[in-house]
Amino acid sequence: MAIVTKRVSPTRWFAYFIVAAGSIIMLAPFWFMFVFATHTNTEILSVPPPVWFGDAFVGNLNLLLDKLPFFWKNLGWSFYIAIAVTVLNLFFCSLAGYAFAMYHFKYKERLFAVIMATVMLPSFVGMIPTALVMSWLGWMNQPKALIIPSACGAFGIFMMRQYISSAIPRELTEAARIDGCSEFGIYWRVVLPLITPALGTLGLVTFIGSWNNFAGPLIVIRDMEMFTVPLALRALQGTGQVPWGAISAGSAIAVLPLLVIFVISSRRLIAGLTSGAIKG
């Protein structure tokens, strides 16, 4: 994609500079999180805070594991839940998005409006009734209480509809239909391979959302062994002595999977770019 130009204009140099300076601001808190993970509380709460690594990481980790004996298990649950939610969302949202983008059916606009309306209601009022539903179902303290209700998010559908309608020419799906492809086959064999960049983005954001979800586990999970990572880390914070070093160490460990996921999904973005079919 890069256009080869011999001479780089001053304007562009200026742009490079701005982008680089912005990068530093963006990176700073990340940097601090890793740095804090290696310092004691007293050092962290000093102002200015430490900017380079200290030697307290092992101590922080031990403190973390002492206070949260199930931390690794918590990490496992977070993984399990986030992966399940992500996979289900990618499938259901792209399917629904495909239907909204490529089909014409009765009440389409109205149904879509209903979906959009559901995301506009601020979520906290839903906490108590959701807890009621979960206890009626007997799902309290179970991961499925966090997975199933969020298996198909409205944002995902919105995003997929938007992407599919702009990225996939209708001729393509019609050609597939004429070739005898089933409706689901069109989605599975024609549409899905073409929307990988959007799937990457949606997957990433769904995973992050589930990984960082706090209010959901707070009301549903009551067993420290079943806690997700945010809940576990928050459990360390009381009034007074908060083990910030241990929390930073925990956050740093918890954010590593997200980094890996991000690297992987940015590869997907490239893959989407190079697959020729999009350029229809």
Partner: protein, 418 residues
């Protein structure tokens, strides 16, 4: 949907039945708490297991605010309720009024018999409006004035200067500022907070009278605001809020010379806020003969808890067992609500961080004198509103009577459903 729920209910009942039969072998008592109270529970588990090998204790700990949100949700829905619920003093008024907690004063608990075993101001806090006893106190936070002896010496200020009266306290701050540059107090609001609590008699509320009318325009509040403003005008306050990084740093650098708070603050200063200032601090009673408490925790049993008898046994162990209370006192700086535990020799030990002062004796005296203030479920709202108005008085020079009148109107508006 209806059928689905029905089937679920049956399934749940079957599962519950199965669990019930298993439970006979070993009952699991769930305890919900928050830091640092959870550490006391954790410490109690192995000891308790020795006495009751047939009971498993499961601890669920959440951050202070999260814990109370989760408990509110559980009380609302009746689901996921723990057997033993820790409640902080800030929520005890609300929870005691809710009716979702067992009345521990009635049989089979009959807890009124233990009333005199606890610091006298605690039990009334846990008493609901209809005379029910909703919870048992476990720890308390007698208020104290911690001050930097070295800085005061430098400024020629004595302890008596600090505690004689509020005027002399603020006056000392001016001397201190001139001599050392340090702030007397982190936030001027602290003065207000203590003044509005001083001079109260048993059964009186801070913000509301017996009839539930707001009293924030009373002379007590006017004077409190005036004192805070005087301190602010004199420039002896650091405008630093508690628990901020700036606060910790201010202690470390010796820029905050006094702090009025619960006695447990000494432990925090020693452990992490300012370990470098060891030996420089001393404790005194609050200025002008005031006595107040900071924080304090209780244990309650939800009405819908699954294992009430076992829960009650464990609560008695946590609150009435002298050994347990002393251990929490020694290891976690949790000042015991149990008077018997306050009489432990530990109370007479010198505290190195406070220059060898036997400060716990002082705090014990304070614990006896703190009035049994009536808590109200609208206290937290009233507090928020009063703080906001004080801020306007301090920063925008708002007229004090006007500020308090506004506060009163706002409080009555929000407490409209009393």
């Amino acid at each position: 949907m209806g059928v689905m729920i029905k089937r679920r209910v049956i399934a749940a009942a079957v599962v519950a039945g199965l669990c019930g039969s298993v439970a006979n072998a070993a009952t699991t008592v769930t305890v919900a708490a928050f830091p640092a109270l959870d550490a006391a529970v954790k410490a109690a588990i192995p000891r308790y297991k020795k006495l009751h090998p047939d009971v498993e204790i499961k601890l669920v700990s959440l951050a202070y605010a999260d814990h109370h949100v989760a408990m509110t949700t559980s009380l609302a829905t009746g689901a996921n309720l723990p057997d033993v619920m820790a409640v902080e003093v800030g929520f005890i008024g609300k929870f005691a009024e809710s009716g979702g907690l067992e009345d521990l004063g009635k049989p089979p608990y009959n807890a009124w018999q233990y009333k005199d075993k606890f610091a006298r101001f605690t039990v009334p806090q846990a008493t609901g409006p209809n005379g029910s006893l909703a919870a048992i106190p476990v720890d308390i936070g007698p208020g104290t004035l911690l001050y930097r002896k070295d800085l005061m010496d430098k400024a020629g200020v004595t302890e008596a200067d600090l505690t004689k009266s509020w005027e002399s306290y603020i006056e000392s701050g001016k001397k201190l500022k001139a001599a050392t540059g340090a702030y007397l107090i982190a936030s001027a609001a602290d003065i207000k907070d203590i003044y509005i609590r001083s001079g109260l008699k048993d059964g009186e509320g801070v913000y509301f009278d017996k009839a539930g009318k707001s009293v924030v325009d009373s002379p007590r509040f006017v004077k409190a605001f005036e004192l805070a403003k005087a301190a602010h005008t004199a420039g002896v306050d650091g405008k630093i809020s508690a628990w901020s990084n700036e606060w910790a740093e201010g202690f470390k650098r010796g820029q905050i010379a006094t702090q009025m708070m619960g006695a447990w603050l000494a432990g925090h200063l020693q452990n992490w806020l300012a370990p470098n200032t060891k030996g420089a601090w001393r404790a005194a009673q609050l200025p002008a003969g005031a006595f107040a408490s900071w924080g304090g925790s209780f244990y309650a049993i939800p009405t819908k808890a699954a294992h009430k008898p076992e829960a009650w046994e464990f609560i008695k162990f946590l609150t009435l067992n002298k050994e347990m209370q002393i251990e929490a006192f020694r290891k976690l700086d949790a000042f015991p609500a149990l008077i018997e535990a306050q009489n432990d020799p530990f109370i007479d030990q010198p505290i190195e961080f406070l220059g060898g002062q036997k400060a716990r004796q002082l705090w014990k005296v304070a614990a006896e004198k703190i009035p049994a203030i009536d808590v109200d479920k609208y206290d937290s709202i009233a507090q928020e509103i009063v703080n906001a108005e004080l801020e306007k008085v301090l920063e925008q020079n708002k007229d004090i009577p006007k500020a308090l009148a506004d506060a009163k109107a706002l409080i009555e508006r929000r407490a409209r459903r009393r």
